[in-house]
């Protein structure tokens, strides 16, 4: 059983999801941080929901929503000629929902710690809100941006329950690494399970180590 299709599929899914989510989360997180709208807590709760819900709940609803018999799934089928469930597109949509909080939350935290007076200073220096956002808030929140990217990517790579429910485990189409390992264990193919698990373990560890070594920061000292 070759593991490359699963690895390739997983990376593709994680990349696509991360790219789309960062693009969506950036304005959303900024809006949540700066708005005075009464709707904010509601939007915030909705955004956080996928974090709190078991993947199977998400999977269940997505399955219902995207099934060819549901309005949305049917529309998709008519327009694209393809079903959403058990397809890569379906996985991407599921991942977007599933990982949304992982993109929004770190950005929101980072934006919230941008000091108001610093933004004020930018404004009196002639920066439009958009300009101040791009040249002050965003650079100051870059750690949050990095965190959002890493978390979203990681969470998508590690996605399992949702994928299993809305994607099944169709080799080359929806069988991502996590499912591949599950399958390998099920079929007593411990060699594959070990190769994938160890590989992922070593790879993740190295990436994280690099991130943390290069991301040294001052931090607080007490003694």
């Amino acid at each position: 059983m070759t593991v490359w299709p699963a690895i390739w599929l997983t990376l593709k899914l994680a990349f696509v999801t991360t790219a789309i989510l960062l693009a969506v989360a950036l304005p959303l997180a900024w809006w949540l941080t700066t708005t005075r709208s009464k709707l904010r807590p509601v939007v915030e709760a909705i955004t956080t929901l996928p974090l709190v819900l078991p993947p199977t709940v998400l999977g269940f609803y997505l399955l219902i929503l995207m099934s060819p018999t549901a309005p949305f799934g049917a529309l998709w089928l008519r327009v694209t000629g393809d079903t959403l469930t058990f397809s890569f597109t379906g996985l991407v949509i599921a991942s977007l929902v599933y990982s949304l909080p992982f993109a929004v939350q770190p950005l929101q935290t980072a934006f919230a710690s941008v000091p108001q007076p610093t933004m004020d200073a930018a404004r009196t220096l002639g920066a439009t809100p958009r300009d101040a956002f791009l040249t002050v808030a965003l650079p100051l929140a870059r750690r949050g941006f990095l965190t959002a990217g890493v978390l979203t990517f990681a969470h998508t790579v590690g996605e399992f329950g949702v994928v299993l429910m809305v994607g099944g485990n169709i080799p080359g189409r929806t069988r991502v690494i996590s499912i591949e390992i599950f399958t390998a264990v099920e079929t007593l193919d411990y060699a594959t399970a070990h190769v994938l698990s160890l590989g992922l373990l070593a790879f993740s560890f190295c990436v994280l180590l690099l991130v943390y070594v290069f991301n040294r920061r001052g931090g607080v000292r007490v003694a």
């Binding site: 007076p117 004020d120 930018a122 009196t124 220096l125 439009t128 040249t135 002050v136 650079p139």
Partner: protein, 341 residues
């Protein structure tokens, strides 16, 4: 009609404080804003700058015939072209010193970046990040940043805090020159009478959120530069006779011969006496005629070499027709004479 800044504001901040102020400030030279801690000076500047928009209340601001806030609309803060030096420096932590100073400069026709950097002695710091800047260094960067943004008006909230007296005495004239040369008016919050004497053309007083009135403007004489010396210039008071008192005063100031210089007279360094004190430690001893003695109608007015000087109420001017004024220290300020007049 000269340009003015009209405002009528009513803003609540917290349960105990309301800023409720209305005034019209000439937008020429430096208007000092003084008042005890917590009287609302910072709140006033922020409101005028269009920050703190969230707080409800009345808000009418017109700057040089342009409505900034009012029924006609709202000019957002970034279009008001205010060079705001905040009470805390609030530098951009992700930019170098040069990046901070250049932030505003990039967003407008660049003015004298290099001159500002030089005047504030920031050259050696330009490439550094802002971490580890000393208190005074950070403050100077904040000043430079505001000045370099080619502002239409300066809002300076205790900008000299943390600067050593040497740098202060070099930099105050620099601000004076910037204000008069580029005709950028300034609102200047300060607790330091020296700064007020050096810079202010008028002094507005706040107390508990209200404008409590205009204070007597600082005592000042005008003089002209007669010669450049090594470390500074030599000036002669307007109205002084050759070899007479005030004919030749050395000032540690950069100015060109012929330029006008304001000679600020700090209250605590001016000694009025009925007799001539003779040789002494004073920079100059000038004859003074009392045009109007202090009394119920207001402060005393003096004639000094033909120049009229109003004396703040706190000074005890002896009751005599003629006096001697020994000046122990002056605070000079370059003045660019309006060439259009």
């Amino acid at each position: 009609m000269p340009d003015r800044l009209h405002f009528r504001l009513k803003l609540r901040r917290g349960p105990l404080f309301t800023l409720e102020a209305q005034e019209s400030l000439p937008m020429q030279g430096v208007t000092a804003i003084v008042g005890p801690s917590g009287s609302g000076k910072t709140s006033l500047l922020r409101a005028l700058a269009g920050l703190d928009m969230g707080v409800a209340g009345e808000r009418r601001i017109t700057f040089c015939n342009k409505e900034w806030d009012g029924p006609g609309g709202h000019v957002p803060a970034h279009e008001r072209r205010i060079g705001f030096v905040f009470q805390d420096p609030h530098l951009f932590p992700h930019l170098s010193v040069a990046g901070n100073i250049g932030y505003g400069a990039k967003r407008c026709e660049v003015t004298s970046f290099d001159a500002i950097v030089e005047a504030l002695e920031l050259g050696p710091l330009l490439d550094r990040g802002i971490d580890g800047l000393s208190g005074g260094e950070a403050r100077r960067v904040a000043l430079a940043r505001a000045l370099a943004s080619n502002p239409a008006v300066l809002f300076l909230d205790e900008p000299m805090t943390g600067l050593d007296s040497q740098r202060k005495s070099e930099f105050l004239p620099y601000i004076a020159r910037a204000v008069s040369q580029a005709r950028v008016p300034a609102l200047y919050v300060s607790h330091s009478s020296d700064e007020v004497v050096t810079l202010a053309d008028r002094v507005l007083e706040l107390g508990q959120g209200h404008v409590t009135g205009w204070r007597t403007p600082p005592m000042r004489l005008t003089a002209h530069v007669v010669a450049e010396t090594g470390p500074g210039v030599e000036v002669r008071l307007d109205g002084a006779e050759d070899d007479g008192p005030g004919a030749s005063i050395a000032l540690p100031l950069r100015a060109l011969p012929g330029e006008a210089v304001g000679i600020g007279l700090p209250v605590e360094s001016v000694h009025f006496s009925v007799h001539h004190p003779g040789a002494g430690s004073a920079i100059m001893v000038l004859p003074v005629t009392v045009t109007r003695p202090a009394g119920a109608e207001g402060q005393a007015v003096l004639d000094v070499l033909g120049q009229s000087v109003r004396v703040p109420g706190v000074m005890r001017v002896p009751s005599a027709r003629t006096l001697w004024m020994s000046v122990l220290r002056v605070l000079p300020r370059p003045m660019v004479v309006d060439s259009t007049k």
